[in-house]
Symmetry: C2
Subunit: 223 residues, 2 copies
């Protein structure tokens, strides 16, 4: 069967998005021209404009297109946490997977690209925050709530607990990578962050014998 | 007494740095020209070049000059934590001060500027990471170690504990600001992050009655 003109057009659009993503990640927003994109995709400049009216639109599209990578992360959370009975080992697996997914140079560069342009294109940044950052946190929060219902964790505010887990895990490695640009972690360094975050998280939110309130809840009740 | 020519030159240099900082924060690295800086400082372009040989050098200098703002944060940590006997209230004061210092639009924009250019100028980013991010964390770690020595906290690895405190506190608000470019938080929102981070931190690292190992240490010892 011949490909329909619609599917050919979709393929060309995807080809342009891929080429544009590479250029934007490499050269940043200001350093990218529509001509670069045309050259990279081996099409004419008018072809680029036929699909994307201007550079701003193209930029918004390539950022939006990365929600696929977010879907991957969401699936990873759900699969890792579902039906686990040993919370500690599930969290450790999740911590390692988070680190290896988020510390990929491509993901870090995408994060840098969106942040760099957040003041210029707040809608693009907001959509990435809501569809990316927030969605992953919400999914993790849902897992924590379900573990809490099964008495495997003790969590009052699942979304905050999720941000505590991820914040403890990622604060040093993500910032180091974002600030230094050429971050390669030393062997064992990321594993140390994973183990420490899981340990501290369970110390605060882990189950205790009996039906005592969680340590986190106890602190709040102090006079 | 007449100002010496050295002090006049220092003042002019500082004037140029201030002007350049405003322009870089406003327009980013690519959007800034030496001509903009000259206009903002009301000097001639050759004057700018007499102090800074090129835009790259000027950028490195304005980033380095912000270590003054870091000193402020370091002093804040030391003063807040020194000689405290009520750790919970000290941490809460510190959490609020951290949030109000770091969530200032100017600080967030500086963070964005350095991150945005970290691949292009890794030395600038690395120096900011080491002199800024790392130094604040190390100072907080030293405070935690001293509180741990006085049995007011139970901390094995003070630097990691410091990153856990700060990561739990800042993960949502800093990322939200960095991605969305919108620095206004709802009333009470930051206070909620402060209270929750202190609570979860003390649940994991707080003192317990007697000389039992900390909850965080306990988790490690599980078979």
């Amino acid at each position: 069967m011949e490909p329909t003109s619609e599917s050919r057009s979709d393929r060309k659009r995807q080809l342009l998005l891929n080429a544009a993503t590479e250029i934007f990640l490499d050269k940043g927003y200001d350093g990218t021209t529509m001509e670069d994109v045309a050259m990279k995709a081996a099409v004419s400049k008018p072809t680029v404009y036929r699909f994307f009216s201007d550079k701003e639109r193209l930029f918004a599209e390539i950022v939006r297109a990365t929600t696929g990578e977010i879907d991957e992360l969401v699936r990873l959370v759900v699969e890792t946490m579902a039906e686990q009975t040993n919370v500690e080992s599930a969290l450790l697996v999740l911590a390692r997977r988070f680190l290896s997914a988020l510390m990929q140079p491509r993901v870090l560069r995408l994060r840098r690209l969106v942040m760099a342009n957040a003041e210029r294109f707040p809608d693009v940044g907001r959509s990435w925050y809501e569809q990316g950052f927030d969605r992953v946190l919400a999914t993790l929060g849902t897992s924590f709530r379900s573990l809490s219902d099964r008495k495997l964790l003790r969590v009052d505010d699942p979304l905050l607990a999720a941000s505590h887990f991820v914040g403890m895990l990622l604060w040093i490695p993500i910032n180091k990578a974002m600030y230094t640009g050429d971050y390669r972690s030393r062997p064992g360094e990321l594993e140390r962050f994973a183990v420490a975050a899981v340990r501290a998280f369970l110390a605060g939110y882990g189950p205790a014998s009996g039906s005592a309130p969680s340590p986190a809840a106890r602190v709040r009740k102090r006079p």
